[in-house]
């Protein structure tokens, strides 16, 4: 076992990316929790709120999050129980159903977002001068485009992609 392997710059690079991600995730989670949300729930709320009619079919929601369809079923169960979401039958396809954000869900998101943006600013974007931030984002975009898993991809930076043309219905 070559001890030097672990000093490989490639390992270091991955370490930086993963640690930055882990650190930010932790900060985000802490703030979400103040508003009674988990990271997944916040993401679900966000994806739905940015979609036309504040709704998305279960399958489309699964494609936009990193969840499987069964995972989505369960998150929506919980959030429906908590009054943040409702299910609505799809009139044109009786197999499908929509998850729709309720007024309470939108309000919860409204309460959470400002703090979320503040935290991003404080721990991420505000840590770098504009040029350095641009360089960082350019690099990330290149990597993101390369590994693009397809499923979760696109929506954040191309917010209308699948929202503008929801599959059928």
């Amino acid at each position: 076992m070559n001890q030097n392997v672990f000093d490989d710059p490639r390992i270091t690079a991955v370490g930086l990316l993963f640690e930055a991600h882990a650190g930010l995730s932790a900060r985000f989670s802490a703030q979400f929790e103040e508003h009674g949300l988990s990271s997944v729930e916040f993401e679900v709320l966000t994806r739905l709120a940015r979609s036309p009619g504040n709704q998305l079919r279960m399958t489309d929601l699964a494609a936009q999050t990193s969840l499987s369809t069964s995972g989505v079923t369960r998150v929506v169960d919980r959030m429906e129980r908590d009054g943040l979401l409702t299910r609505r039958a799809c009139p044109s396809d009786r197999r499908s159903s929509y998850a729709v954000v309720t007024a309470a869900g939108l309000q919860r998101l409204d309460e959470t977002l400002p703090g979320h943006l503040r935290i991003i600013e404080q721990w991420f974007t505000g840590q770098l001068d504009p040029a350095a931030l641009d360089a960082l984002l350019d690099g990330l975009r290149r990597v993101r485009d390369a590994v693009h898993p397809g499923a979760t991809a696109g929506s954040t930076t191309l917010p209308v992609e699948s929202a503008a043309a929801p599959t059928g219905c």
Copy 2:
């Protein structure tokens, strides 16, 4: 609900970082799986292999991974069952025990690492010219240093930090 909120550059920035992370994680996991390892197991193996004597106390291992101590107990259980690790009593403190990598564990790591490095190169570091990569890493380092959770931090980029001075024993 202001639709434009979701086009906020801060949201976009986080989206890029998280999607890049998710994409790379998925690639890594797939390759680890080829060698019968999970991401967590690979990390445990790595942390132990880079430590003096290929061993670490359970608590120190927990501090270096993103696991709780009970999480470590269970990973070590599984990996011990699979022959990759052994527990060894700490002679100077009967409360403590070491997790030690076995020969089989080191061999498994040896089999896995080359492919892992190839994947990093292919999907991450190789996607950018050296200058852009440096800029990316500088930015990540700044963010990482800011959010540094303390627990998981340091070891990857300062590999000998806690390894050189294991708590007691």
